[in-house]
């Protein structure tokens, strides 16, 4: 195995163009996988590329560089829009994993149980990709093409996660078999913008309840205009065609459907609470 550590994006793209590279950022998904088979012949560590780490706002958009860790997210000064992302950041593995693991890596790994995905979907995140053909932006909902599959062409590298700025407060809830260091049974990310105490715009996504996390567009529409007191009833009555959970070692499909519905209502109400320090 050879490890390449380019210090510029150009040299990273040039190495990637040669083919056969496994991209490495924090490595928290790559290293445990090394025991499962032959190690990859070529690893491309992007964590040393200048300008790829950090969170900044410009032109009505937030930019999370591809080498930004979950600890960077937790420590960043961000508006309530990101409260859900901060809560999700605290659920990724443990402190040591949050110190190494990156937001972009969580997306590229594309686990159906990735903690970062539902909340970033609710934030309408775009994935910035650079490759031989230049730069392009892909909505996260299209980027994650299936379990462990992303819409990246050969030679392309994720360089940032982009989030449109706007009103609203975020929330995130995860259910696992225990409180800490656990793969989720179901999880919900929500971003709610309110006007005069009622929902102006709801954005809700569910993870671990299907091959990929999904936005719940039907529920989002049904919630427009709702007061906090209406939320539980509306969610209980909602049709949720996006949920397609399986029975596995962590939970049955029936339990996941029931738990997800409870988490959806709780996350929405949490995102409507008076702003607090995340």
């Amino acid at each position: 195995m050879t490890l390449y550590r380019p210090d510029s994006l150009d040299s990273a793209l040039s190495l990637l163009g040669k083919g056969g590279m496994t991209v490495l950022a924090g490595g928290t998904d790559v290293y445990p996988g090394l025991r499962d088979g032959a190690p990859p012949a070529h690893l491309l560590d992007i964590s040393g590329i200048a300008g790829l780490r950090g969170i900044a706002r410009a032109g009505g958009q937030w930019r999370i560089g591809a080498a930004t860790t979950w600890t960077d997210v937790i420590r960043a000064d961000l508006p309530p829009l990101f409260d859900g992302l901060k809560l999700a950041a605290r659920e990724v593995g443990s402190v040591q994993i949050q110190n190494s693991g990156t937001v972009a890596g969580n997306l590229c790994n594309a686990s159906p149980a990735a903690d970062g995905v539902p909340v970033l979907m609710a934030l309408d995140a775009l994935v910035e990709v650079q490759g031989p053909g230049g730069s392009r932006q892909v909505p996260l909902t299209d980027f994650i093409a299936g379990p462990r599959a992303v819409a990246l062409d050969p030679g392309e590298l994720v360089t940032a996660v982009l989030i449109p700025d706007g009103p609203g407060q975020g929330a995130f809830l995860k259910l696992g078999a225990r409180r800490y260091l656990v793969i989720s049974i179901a999880m919900v990310g929500a971003v709610i913008a309110t006007r005069s105490g009622r929902i102006d715009r709801a954005r809700v996504a569910v993870g671990s309840c299907g091959p990929v996390a999904r936005r719940l567009t039907g529920v989002e529409t049904a919630l427009t205009g709702a007061a906090p007191g209406d939320v539980a009833r509306l969610v209980a009555a909602a049709d949720l065609p996006e949920l397609a959970p399986i029975d596995d070692v962590r939970a049955t499909a029936t339990y996941r459907n029931d738990a997800a519905r409870t988490l959806i209502a709780r996350a929405i109400l949490m995102a409507m609470e008076a702003p607090h320090v995340a």
Binding site: R5, T28, P32, L34, G93, V95, Q96, N99, S100, Y180
Partner: protein, 156 residues
């Protein structure tokens, strides 16, 4: 093979190692610093926690070559003549049973206390339990571990 130079426990070390060498393997097999334990080898249990550039890291989840130039502190580098206050506290409160998880527990705990002190935050029992989520004691001796961390935090 790549040549790397790291500062481990304050001493500069330079070695030619295969690129796939994990930091845990580098410490144990190349430097013979066997205080860092490997429990699960899948970045869950925390027995292998060391400090890399002042932050807690799971050494089984880090390639040594990627750390060229970094400062690494292991359990062997914690005592400075006398035992570190965290080591004293684990002894005093019997914060261990079989002891396998102890090096990682101590390294994680020192990181927790340092972080809370630097940020001016109060380290409550609840916070200690939450912060130790990445370290698993399969003897389930958590009560005394938490007592030890509380006690050391008051002295650090």
């Amino acid at each position: 093979m790549t040549n790397i130079t790291l500062t481990v426990n304050g001493k500069s070390v330079s070695r030619d190692i295969p690129d796939e060498t994990l930091l845990s393997e580098f410490l144990r097999e190349h430097l013979r610093l066997t205080g860092t334990h490997v429990g699960c080898d899948t970045s869950q249990c925390g027995a292998c926690v060391v400090h890399v550039d002042g932050k807690a890291a799971k050494s089984c989840t880090t390639l040594a070559v990627a750390l060229d130039g970094a400062q690494v502190t292991t359990i062997e580098g914690l005592a400075n003549g006398d035992l570190h206050p965290m080591q004293e506290a684990f002894t005093e409160h019997h914060g261990l049973q079989c002891g396998f998880c102890t090096p990682g527990m101590i390294m994680a705990s020192v990181d927790i206390v340092n972080r809370y002190k630097a940020e001016g935050r109060t380290l409550t029992e609840k916070a200690i339990r939450h912060e130790l989520e990445g370290n698993i004691c399969r003897c389930t001796g958590y009560h005394n571990i938490v007592k030890a961390v509380e006690s050391a935090a008051a002295k650090m």
